[in-house]
Subunit: 148 residues, 2 copies
């Protein structure tokens, strides 16, 4: 839980976001999550920031391609920091994995989304690829249990 004192002003400005104190704080806090996080989780980690501010900040970050939004089927949007410093092209997107047991959603950073051939006429701007099942931990737990 060490506090990151590095200054990310430049990161925000590069994305066309005004680096207010709260935005920098939110960005620093988001960095602590290595996989995805929800608005609520970020809110908890922040304590003193209002939920509407967190919401608006994440929306802004998403619009400026600083975070990705992920629908993992739980009904609550997840976010993850984009490690690229430019808007991700279709070929740079990575897959996500949602564990149906512990409900964590993982970034498979090294697993790129394969682009399918789709019918003519459609214009694709974004792709989501979501695997669902059991994460390694939950799988181990399950097997060690009643071996069902």
């Amino acid at each position: 839980m060490e506090t990151d004192r590095h200054d990310y002003t430049e990161v925000l400005t590069r994305h066309g976001i005004r680096p207010t104190a709260i935005r920098l704080l939110i960005y620093r806090t988001a960095l602590r999550f290595h996989d995805t996080f929800s608005m609520a989780e970020l809110e908890d980690a922040l304590e003193s920031v209002d939920k509407s501010t967190v919401f608006r900040t994440l929306s802004l970050f998403a619009a400026r391609h600083l975070v990705h939004e992920i629908e993992d089927g739980t009904g609550s949007t997840k976010y993850c920091l984009c490690r690229n410093d430019h808007p991700c092209g279709i070929n740079e997107l990575h897959c996500h994995f949602h564990c149906e047991s512990c409900h964590k959603t993982f970034c498979l950073d090294h697993t790129h989304i394969p682009v399918v051939r789709y019918p003519a006429g459609f214009e694709v701007r974004q792709i989501d690829y979501l695997l669902k099942g059991l994460c390694p931990e939950c799988r181990a737990k399950q097997h060690s249990g009643s071996e069902r």
Copy 2:
């Protein structure tokens, strides 16, 4: 808007679902949608059935693999009838396309989801592949307009 009088009792029973009058009605109504539909759309098409019943019926259908649930990022779950008469394997799933302009979600029935190589330890049970962008109609409209 013709009414389908065919009897789908057998379809439901084959999936382990008791064929009550309402469930048959809901199934027949769902058949009228060629792409995906939301709970609300189905409710409208049904008129006289309560929303909780529609909800519980769709949940049951989904649990019994009679419909697929699709998260298209709008926050409202979409459904589509599964045309297979057995639970779809990982290799039988199809992609979906969500239009960011008209907000319709299409089934790309003939575009199967490519299965990626994922890190060891994960157990995959389900995959969602969602393309987002403009559907052919909206794309045409946009181009014919101010040609921006």
